[in-house]
């Protein structure tokens, strides 16, 4: 039994299929990234898994509990931090936390301590009795995350948790996500920040036009587009014909990056040998030489373009 399972989820809006036969399984303790361009079906899929909307067909389970058949029991197992900071602006931070705690059934005595603890973790304890309408976006997002943890859920759904936030809030939230995962919580992270997904996630799924384009670990996904592997080289002089670099064996594309040259090709080892020979022939000294694989961003672009 996975922590989260989606089986053939389908959802249509006004005859348009927003999510088309989406299936995946997330194991307990994973950080799972859910990536996709705008309108790809990320939010709709997440809403179906979290029981906010019903799928037209297919099922989703949270720790084995069917979200459609038993939404309340499934929702009790999860915490959700939506992208929009939708805490009640006319309530205080403590008021919002208490509301969440009372709905999740956290006992009164325990609730007070839990609220203070979470507000402290997210750097909001000194503003606990201030109305949320005076909070910055980062503070609101931290409060939303604190609210999502009020029931100590085993699974957390985070929708763009750091989008548009200041550096301090981003770091605080990322650190907390890592810590929460370290204590065994499963994290479902919907994000546009591919670098963030690359750093945090054990596996990522890329959704495009309502379909899952790929699911794997970030490194394995990057390996699927080997042609974008490259080497970055700089010489002590620019006195040579740049076009000659492009004719080297194994080079498919050449790009100038400042005083460096990036040579793309499927076999970086072969390119390195060619570049070394080229430098000797031209009497050039190699100042630096690095290989780099495709970034997750390039992989994402490749997958969603096709």
């Amino acid at each position: 039994m996975g922590a989260i399972e989606a089986n053939s989820l389908i959802k249509e809006f006004d005859g348009l299929r927003a999510v088309d036969d989406v299936s995946f399984k997330i194991e307990e303790g994973e950080i799972f990234g859910f990536l996709g361009p705008n309108g790809a079906g990320k939010t709709t899929t997440t809403r179906m898994i979290t029981g906010v909307i019903r799928p037209d067909s297919g099922t989703a389970t949270i720790e084995g509990v069917d979200v459609v058949q038993n939404p309340t029991a499934a929702k009790e197992k999860i915490g959700i931090a939506p992208e929009e900071a939708n805490a009640y602006l006319d309530l205080t931070a403590r008021g919002n936390m208490n509301l969440a705690g009372e709905i999740y059934g956290v006992p009164g005595r325990e609730l007070r301590g839990k609220v203070d603890e979470l507000l402290d973790i997210f750097g909001l304890l000194d503003r606990a009795d201030s109305k949320v309408k005076g909070f910055s976006k980062g503070m609101k997002q931290r409060l939303i995350l604190a609210m999502a943890l009020i029931n100590d859920p085993g699974i957390l759904f985070l929708d763009e948790p750091t989008a548009g936030l200041d550096v301090e809030s981003r770091r605080l939230i990322k650190d907390q996500v890592k810590k929460l995962n370290e204590v065994g919580k499963t994290i479902f992270l919907t994000t546009h920040d591919i670098a963030e997904a690359d750093r945090l996630c054990d596996r990522v799924a890329v959704i495009n036009r309502g379909n899952i384009a790929a699911i794997d670990s970030p490194e394995k996904l990057k390996a699927t587009i080997r042609s974008t592997q490259s080497i970055l080289v700089s010489f002590d002089s620019m006195n040579f014909e740049a076009a000659d670099l492009e004719t080297l064996k194994g080079v498919e594309e050449l790009e100038k990056e400042g005083d460096k040259w990036r040579l793309y090709g499927p076999n970086p080892g072969e390119i390195i040998e060619e570049v070394v020979s080229f430098a000797k022939e031209e009497g050039l000294k190699i100042l630096s030489l690095n290989t780099s694989g495709p970034s997750l961003e390039e992989t994402f672009t490749h997958l969603t373009k096709n």
């Binding site: 929702k75 009790e76 709905i103």
Partner: protein, 246 residues
Amino acid sequence: MYYPASLRKSIAIAKKDLRIYYGKGPVVIFGILLPFFFFFSFLIGREMPPLTLISGLGGMAIWFTATSISPIIAPMETRTRTLERLVSMPLSVTEMLIGDILASTVTGVVLSAIPISIIAVILNLNLVHFFPLALGIIVASFCFSAIGILLSALPTDTTSDVMMLALLIKFPLIFVSGVFIPASNLPGWGRIISRFSPLTYFVDLVRVSFGGSGQSWMNVGILTLFAVFFLFAAVFVHKRTLPKRL
């Protein structure tokens, strides 16, 4: 199903509503002052029987307070996306709506009991049936709040859309419920319509409670039936329109 744990969730929603929507100064002050403006405008320069005065104004007080805020909570929470936050929590539509109704009921009870009590003192009227009236105020406030919540099922995030619909129903109902003219004085068609208005039975209950002729408990019973009907109707319609709000 509505379980005992459901009551805890509904009370949490009610507390939230009272703090955000009903606890504001203008709502309380306007809710208390408005019935007195009506009262004096009807009292001064007119020969209106005291029982007609207190029953009509009591009816208006509870009708307007219980249906004032309840219709706009859903569109406001749709716009601010706090509704999505609630829907993502382990909270059923029934629990959420009962919470909204409870908050409106409490406000309706307080803001109608105060003017009814003061006007009874001013007019020197004796309260003959205390318990039916006390229970009737609670049940009527619940019933009218459920009507307000039913109106808020319109799938919109614009409060003025719902307010327009609410006004189209609230004001005509006043005229056929014995508020200004006793229901018995209405023309035949008016008397028939008045039977389908829960406000008619509350106005009659207030009149009977202060010494008028009639059955006070029967009015409470009919109001209870209306309350149950409008609660189920509100839950039924909201379940269908809620997905359009998200």
